[in-house]
């Protein structure tokens, strides 16, 4: 399929994956693992930091999220990229580029500008997600599926912050 799957099919399968994952981890690990991604960054960041400065392990946040390779680190840093790579190769859709087309339309082809922006954006999404306690997976998918109030407030915040800035940033087209 040249245009890929319908988002409704993808979302449906993701809902089933959430249910299946919670069931499997509850039965096999004794504790449910809901889909979520941003704590994986904390675990890896903690591991990196510990390699340079062992003192960092005493930070209260690294006591709360002990730096280690856990279920989520495998999910986010190994599973998703490899799964995406298989899908892209299998369908002949791997296309190497540094500047996304839509970014280029508004900001031009400068790769340094795009790399810097991606770094800043990446910083903000993980910093914000950790302050909020989760990302669109943890608060959005898993949180709203559990009808959790924190999920609804956080998802509202994603759009309150994201929509106005995107409308300003991408208004201009070259």
């Amino acid at each position: 399929m040249r245009d890929g799957w319908s988002p409704y099919l993808g979302g449906f399968l993701t809902g089933l994956l959430l249910i299946g994952s919670v069931l499997a981890t509850q039965k096999l690990l004794g504790k449910p693992h809901y889909l979520g991604t941003s704590t994986a960054y904390v675990r890896v960041a903690g591991l990196v930091e510990k390699a340079f400065s062992p003192k960092s392990a005493s930070l209260s946040y690294y006591q709360k999220y002990i730096p280690r390779v856990d279920w989520k680190v495998m999910l986010v840093f190994v599973g998703v990229p490899v799964g995406a790579l298989i899908a892209a190769l299998k369908n002949g859709e791997f296309r190497g580029h540094l500047v996304p087309e839509r970014w280029r339309e508004s900001f031009g082809p400068n790769p340094v500008l795009r790399a810097l922006a991606a770094f800043v954006g990446g910083f903000l999404i993980v910093y914000g997600a950790r302050l909020a306690g989760g990302c669109p997976s943890g608060h959005g998918l898993s949180g709203m599926s559990q009808l959790s109030l924190s999920g609804f407030i956080t998802v509202a915040g994603f759009f309150i912050g994201g929509i106005p800035l995107a409308l300003i940033l991408y208004r201009r087209r070259r």
Binding site: G4, L9, G10, G11, F12, G15, L17, L18, S21, L23, T25, Q26, L28, Y34, Y41, V42, V44, Y61, W71, K72, M74, L75, V76, G79, V80, G83, A84, A87, A88, N91, F94, L98, P100, R102, W103, L116, A118, V120, G121, G122, F123, L124, I125, G128, A129, R130, L131, A132, S137, H139, L141, L147, S150, T154, A156, G157, G162, L165, A166, Y170
Partner: protein, 174 residues
């Protein structure tokens, strides 16, 4: 077993993400500029399936919840910071690695920024905990507890509303 399950779940999720176009910069910016709602449809369908399945299985006693506590101010503020980063990066924490695997090399800088963002949060967590996390700290509450209503009917009504919303999107060609 924990690591294997994380890997397996990630592989499936990465495959779904790639096929449903959830890794694409254009789709994320399309949502935030209200031009292309692919990612919203994907997320909401996941929540529809998840809300019915998770609550049903929890009521049957097969699984337990993992509700994230509500810290109203931190949820909202963190959500907004996330939204700002989302508009700049055009990926989310779970999809950045997948985007990179599909050939979007700017995702590498997004992951790097995310790891530095996680470190920065670990070093500033005590401040947020002292000043912000206590504001609107309501604990692990959900819509059914807020509404004093039984869980399954609330989940079904919520899922029904999302289905109507998605049908309306299609009806109006959005």
């Amino acid at each position: 077993m924990e690591l294997f399950l994380g890997l397996l779940t990630g592989l499936l999720w990465g495959y779904i993400f790639q096929r449903a176009r959830i890794l694409r910069f254009e789709k994320h910016i399309g949502l935030l500029t209200l031009k292309d709602l692919t990612i919203l449809k994907f997320l909401l369908t996941g929540v529809i399936v998840g809300a019915v399945g998770i609550n049903l299985l929890a009521q049957l006693g097969w699984i337990t919840y993992a509700v994230k506590p509500t810290y109203a101010l931190a949820n909202l503020l963190g959500g907004i910071i996330y939204g700002l980063g989302w508009a700049i990066l055009g990926y989310c924490p779970g999809t950045t690695g997948g985007a990179l695997a599909e050939g979007a090399f700017d995702g590498f800088f997004g992951v790097l920024g995310g790891l530095v963002g996680a470190m920065a949060f670990a070093h500033t967590y005590d401040f947020w905990q002292a000043k912000v996390l206590s504001v609107g700290h309501l604990g692990k509450i959900t819509l059914p507890t807020l509404l004093h209503a039984p869980v399954l009917p609330v989940a079904l009504v919520f899922a029904g509303m999302l289905i109507v919303f998605c049908l309306a999107l299609e009806r109006f060609g959005l």
